[in-house]
Each structure stands twice: as C-alpha cells, then as structure tokens.
C-alpha cells in the first residue's frame, strides 16, 4: 500500500462510513451501524499507527530533522494563479501525533458508544455523525493548506453542532448546539480575516510556503511588517486573528462560553469532541504556525500566552464550584487547554528553547487520553444514575469498580501525580514557563493545585461521599464495549507519559532531551497533593464543611458558581444590542422606510391622480377652455419664453 493511499484512507474511511450510514443507515443498517463505524475506525486507527511508525522510525527524518511531507495535493479551488486552496495531505510530527490521538480516542468512543447509545432510535445517525466528525478532524490535522484547515475547521464545527444537538427534541440541547456553532463561527470570522490578511501579503495559502515566507527574511515578510493598522503590523494582526479562530474552537476566554453548554450532547461525544480532539484544534493551529509566531511575531505569541494562562486559571476556579459533573470536566478541559496554549506562548523556536512547544504537544497528547477517560467514566456514571448532578451520586465505587479505578487513574493523571502521564507533560510546561515568564509560572502552579482539588472533589462526590442510593433497576456498569475503552484509556493514561514525545515532536523537528530536574518537580507535586488532601478532607464523606466554606467565600464563590456572569454579558450583547439595537431597527427600517418609500411613491401617484381628476369635469365647455388654455400655453412657452 503506497504511503499516499495509506494516509488518504485514514480520513476517507470514516467519510465513506458517514456516507453509507447517512444514506442507508436509518433504514437498512440500524443495528449494524455501530459495528460498521467501529470497524472502519479500527482500520483507520491501525493505519494511523502504521503511519506514525513509518514516519517516526522509517521515513520521516532527513538529516536528523523531521520533515513536513506533503504526500498529496490537489488544486481544489483556484482563487488566483498563485493563490489556491490545495486540498492536500501533509504529515509532520504534530500531524502524526494528532492522527494517532484522534483515531485512537475516536475508536474508544465508538466502542463505548456501542454500549452507551444502544437502543437509541437514531443509532445509525449517531454513528454517521461520529464518522463525519472523525473525518473532519483527521482532515483538519492533515491539512497542507491554511484554507484547507479552515474548511475542515468549519466541518468540525458543524459535526460538533450535529452531535451536541443530537437530542434535538430537547430545547436545551438545540440551544447549546446553536450556541457552540455561533460562538465558534464568530471566532472563525477572525480566522478567516486572518487568513485573508496573511494570504494577501504572502501570496500563498500553502502552509509550507507560508511558514517559510514569514519565518525567514523575505520580501513578503518585509511587506507584511511594513503594512500596519492601528500601529500593529499586518503580520501580527493576521496571526492574532488566526489565533482568535483557534481560541474559539479551543474555548479560550472569552470565547469559552459554548463549551460547558456543549455538554448537552451525548457523553461519548463530549469525550471525543469536547475533551480530546476538536477543542485542541486551536492549539494545533497555533502550533502549526508556531515558527511564524515565534520568529516573526513575538507580540502575537504573548497574547496567546496570556490568554492561555488566564483561561487556565479562570476555568479552574469555576470548575471548583460546579455541581454538574460534565461541566466540571468541561471547565477542566478549558483549563488544561489553557495550559497548552500558554505553553506555546512561553516557548521559543528551536532546540531547547522550544521546550514549551514540546510540552504543549506532550500535554495535548496525554490530556487526550485521561480527559476522554474522565468523560467516558462520567458517561458510565451518568448511564447508571441518569443524572449529571453530583447530588444524585455518591458511593458508586462498589457498584462500578472498573469505572472507579479508571476514573481515579485519570484524576491522578490530570492532577499531575507521578508517575501518571499528566505529571510528565505538566512538568515540561511548568519548566518552560518558569524559564520564560514567572508570572505565568505562578498562575500555572496555582492552577495545578486547583486542578487536583476540583478533580478530587469530583471524584469523591461520585464515588465516595454518601452511600449509593439508586432507585429501582439499574444497568450495572455497562456492557463490555463500555468497559474495554475505559481500561484501554486507563492504561494509556498511565503509560502515555513515558512516550518519548521530546524525541519526536519539537518546534524545529530536531529531537531534544527533556530533563526536568527532580527538584523542580517537588513544588508542583506538593501542591497537587495538597489539593488532593484538601478535597479528601472536604468531600470524602458527607459533611457541612464545603457549604460553610462556600458561604464564607461569599461573593467570589457565587461569582465563580455563576461562571463569572460571562454568559449574561453575552446575552446582553446579543439580545439587547444585536437583536434590539441592530436587528429590530433593520427590520423596522426595511418594512417602514425602504418599503414605505416604495409604497409612498405609489401613494403619491395615486393622490396626484386624485388631485387632478377635476380637469376631466365632464363639461364640454371646460374642455374647450382647457383646449384654448393649451394653445395659450404653447404660444406663451414657444413664442416668448423659448426664444
């Protein structure tokens, strides 16, 4: 099998699966849809792994540097001779890593869904959508062209919309789907304009050329730096706008509001899209353009850094107060992505300086496993108790041991407790931050403590706290297909940290040695443990303490509980400003002024016609007088006035 075909098949298999299930699934394949989907993705996953193996060990390196390989390219839409969307397949280290992550997590989610979604009326449709998403996400990471990435970006968005709104009869699900789509669309506007800006100056949309032209001294770079708007160079503008797009998808503050709501979707979907894959697209995008950011526009990178850091902390605070377990996980996702973002932000380009970059990718990698594990675990719990609320849970550790253990592993991983995977990636990030920006480092440290706290708050509330009180019949822990993914992911959550990412995924393609000093690790680990201990004290058994503390915190707690009122601000802007101040006036203006003007013209004519009807009085002598008047008028005009 040629490499091109092999790589092309990775996204094409899910696509084919989508088409088959979408067109025929509902009627003919309603029972086998899950198997078809899972199988095709299984093949995809195998191909991804094979590709990864080939790339990292066989063909990817030239002179010790991992290359960007464009294995296939087709001129899909030519804007201008030098400006076209080339649909292509490009592989480089991050792509390969993402391929593995996406296909693997997706496979797990497919497997899990086989049990979780069993009996759903639109079972086949669900798998079709899952396949569509997987296809889009794989296409996104394989993009060789910035416009291609935008294209798949939108597709990812719409599949996310479809999946969030899967329970379309629930108004809240529809609203959440809409919100997710519109907010990310708004962010994509920035992305689009960013692309337009970059493309205008670099005369290309191709990633390879684009990065080359913007990261090395070239006339294009001079041009784009010379053009300024509001005192900021066009390059910075372009990159910031692209980052806005990334921030939208990756739920960075203040574009994060859709993510918690997106939890209305089926839980496996949240695991796939809103934890492991789609939400990291923003990180991926920044990483993709990292050379440009790092070498030519450090200012833009700073923005990435601060946005990431703030989001990480901000989300962690909110996560501590939420009671819906999926929402906790959602905010934790946001927080972790914030980590990845600021890791990129603190990084520099090349060699050891690119530690942040490597850490970010590493964290992306490990996070995918433990976060999807968390979500699937939460899914299993929800499946059991039919509720998302913590108050409905407790003491489940006996009832669902596998879920319990895997969940605990994931919690430890995300808290950064060695030797779980999260520890390793987080250490790299913290080190990079420490070396670059102490403020960010401080925030990161604090966040890491908070993370441990809220994760264990969640853990205890689900599995300990109070004795299980389930009413009536329950499913048990779920089918085998639900357990296998949990186990596999738990294994990954443990071992992923040992993957030699530093050898493979670096800012300039050259392997680096990651050597985090043991001494450096002490502080974060201690903080994490402290967080865990605090959570244990507060939540292991049911007591009054948390409520008291919450009351003492007063305003801050309330604000955090209400997500700092960001939603309300948005609501104000959209409802009050966009709808009432622009939409309604526009509609009114159209109906009354523009349309009114047209009607007015008609009415004027009619009135005029009414006014002059007296001329036709029906009296023949009047007619004669008018006749005479006509002659007089002609005489007056043409014998006197005209000359």
């Amino acid at each position: 099998m040629s490499q091109t075909l092999q790589i092309a098949l990775i996204p094409l298999l899910p696509l084919a699966c989508f088409l088959v299930l979408g067109l025929y699934g509902r009627k003919h394949l309603s029972s086998s849809a899950g198997i078809i989907g899972t199988l095709s993705l299984f093949i995809s996953t195998l191909l991804s792994l094979q590709t990864a193996y080939q790339y990292f060990f066989v063909s990817g390196k030239v002179n010790g540097v991992y290359q960007k390989l464009v294995v296939f390219q087709y001129n899909w839409l030519e804007f201008a001779p030098d400006l076209s969307i080339n649909i292509g397949l490009m592989i480089d280290p991050i792509t390969v890593m993402m391929l593995v992550v996406v296909s693997f997590v997706s496979l797990m989610v497919h497997l899990f869904s086989l049990g979780y979604m069993k009996g759903e009326e639109r079972f086949a449709t669900y798998f079709a959508f899952l396949s569509l998403f997987t296809f889009s996400m794989l296409g996104l990471v394989l993009s060789s062209n910035i416009f291609q990435i935008y294209l798949f970006w939108e597709l990812v968005g719409v599949s996310s919309f479809l999946l969030i709104g899967f329970y379309f009869e629930k108004p809240s699900a529809v609203a959440a789907a809409k919100k997710a789509f519109i907010v990310t669309r708004f962010a994509d506007l920035g992305f689009l304009i960013g692309i337009l800006t970059l493309a205008f100056y670099t005369k290309t949309l191709d990633f390879g050329l684009l990065i080359e032209r913007l990261s090395t001294a070239s006339p294009y770079l001079t041009d784009i730096n010379a053009a300024t708007f509001l005192g900021v160079s066009a390059l910075s503008w372009g990159l910031i706008l692209v980052f806005v797009g990334g921030a939208g998808k990756s739920a960075m503050f203040p574009l994060h509001i859709w993510l918690p709501d997106a939890m209305e979707g089926p839980t496996p979907v949240s695991a796939l899209i809103h934890a492991a894959t789609m939400v990291v697209a923003g990180v991926f995008l920044v990483a993709r353009l990292f050379p440009v950011f790092a070498l030519s526009a450090p200012g833009a990178l700073q923005i990435v850094m601060y946005t990431g850091a703030f989001s990480a902390f901000f989300a962690a605070v909110i996560a501590c107060t939420q009671t819906d377990i999926k929402r906790v996980l959602a905010y934790s996702t946001m927080s972790q992505i914030g980590y990845m973002m600021f890791a990129l932000g603190v990084s520099k380009y090349g060699g050891e300086d690119g530690l942040g970059y490597m850490g970010s990718m590493f964290h992306l990698f490990t996070h995918a496993f433990f976060k999807s594990l968390l979500f699937l675990g939460a899914g299993a719990v929800i499946h059991m108790v039919h509720s998302n609320e913590m108050k409905d849970m407790g003491g489940l550790r006996k009832l669902m041991p596998i879920t319990h253990i895997s969940f605990l592993i994931a919690c430890l991983a995300i808290a950064g407790v060695p030797p779980f995977s999260g520890f390793f990636s987080k250490e790299e990030i913290l080190l990079a931050a420490f070396e670059s920006n102490r403020l960010v480092y401080g925030i990161a440290l604090l966040t890491s403590g908070l993370t441990a706290f809220y994760m264990f708050r969640l853990y205890y509330n689900i599995f300990w706290s109070k004795p299980a009180e389930l009413h009536g019949h329950h499913h048990g822990e779920g089918t085998l297909t639900m357990k296998i993914p949990l186990i596999l992911l738990a294994v990954m959550a443990v071992v992923a940290g040992f993957a030699p990412i530093a050898k493979w995924v670096t800012s300039d393609g050259l392997p680096i040695e990651s050597h985090v000093p043991i001494t450096f690790s002490i502080l974060p680990v201690t903080l994490a443990l402290a967080g865990i201990l605090l959570a244990t004290r507060l939540f292991k058994t049911q007591n009054e303490l948390p409520v008291r503390i919450a009351q003492q915190m007063g305003g801050i707690y309330k604000a955090a509980y209400h997500k700092f009122y960001i939603d309300e601000v948005y609501l104000f802007v959209t409802k009050k400003i966009l709808f009432n101040l622009i939409g309604k006036p526009a509609a009114w203006f159209d109906k009354n002024i523009v349309d009114g003007l047209m009607n007015l013209l008609g009415r004027i004519t009619a009135t005029l016609s009414d006014l002059i009807k007296g001329i036709q009085s029906g009296k023949v002598q009047d007619y004669a007088l008018y006749f005479f008047g006509g002659i007089a008028g002609l005489v007056l005009v043409f014998i006197y006035l005209w000359k």
């Binding site: 009807k613 036709q616 009085s617 029906g618 009296k619 023949v620 002598q621 004669a624 005479f628």
Partner: protein, 104 residues
C-alpha cells in the same frame, strides 16, 4: 374699398372669431353653442376671402376654401342638430351642464 387696409378686415374677423369663442365658452344651451361655432367659421371665411382678394388675387384658393367651409359647416350643423335633438329625447334638456354624466 381701396382705403381699407387688409389688417382692418382681419381685425374684424379676429374679433368675430373670439366673439364666437366666447359664446362657445359661456352659452349653456347647445344650440346657441352651435351658433357660436358658426360665427367662428364665418370669421375664418372672411379671413380666407380677404387674403385671397388682397394678397393673392391671381388664384382663387381662398374663395374656394371658404365655399367648402360653408358647405361643411352646413353638414356639421345638420349632424349636430340631429344629435342635440336625440339628446333632448333622453335628457329632456339641452343644457350642456346637464349632459355631464361621464367625468373624472
């Protein structure tokens, strides 16, 4: 007649013409309106004859024109009177103000 300039005859005819016009504008009786028209036509006749005689005596164009006008006036008057009589049957009046059903 040598002492009378052409313009004086023309003044006469013009005056007669506008007397006729005035009559047409103001007379509410259809028959009198018709009479006014006859006056106007006669004034035109005077014009033709006077021009013919004073300015272009070598040909008889004007005189012939006036003969034809007289004839046509007769035909016109006849038809008009027939119409008026018919109208009188249905309206029982020959006041033009009464025959203004159709308007606007």
């Amino acid at each position: 007649m040598t002492g009378i300039p052409l313009t004086h005859i023309l003044f006469l005819s013009t005056a007669l013409f506008f007397i006729g016009a005035y009559g047409l504008f103001t007379r509410r009786n259809m028959i009198t309106m018709l009479m006014s028209v006859e006056l106007m036509l006669n004034s035109v006749n005077i014009n033709f004859v006077a021009f013919n005689k004073y300015l272009y005596p070598d040909k008889l164009g004007g005189v012939f024109f006036s003969i034809f006008i007289i004839t046509i006036a007769a035909a016109e008057a006849a038809v008009a009177i027939a119409i008026i009589i018919n109208l009188y049957r249905s309206h029982h009046s020959i006041d033009v103000e009464d025959a203004s059903e159709m308007k606007y």
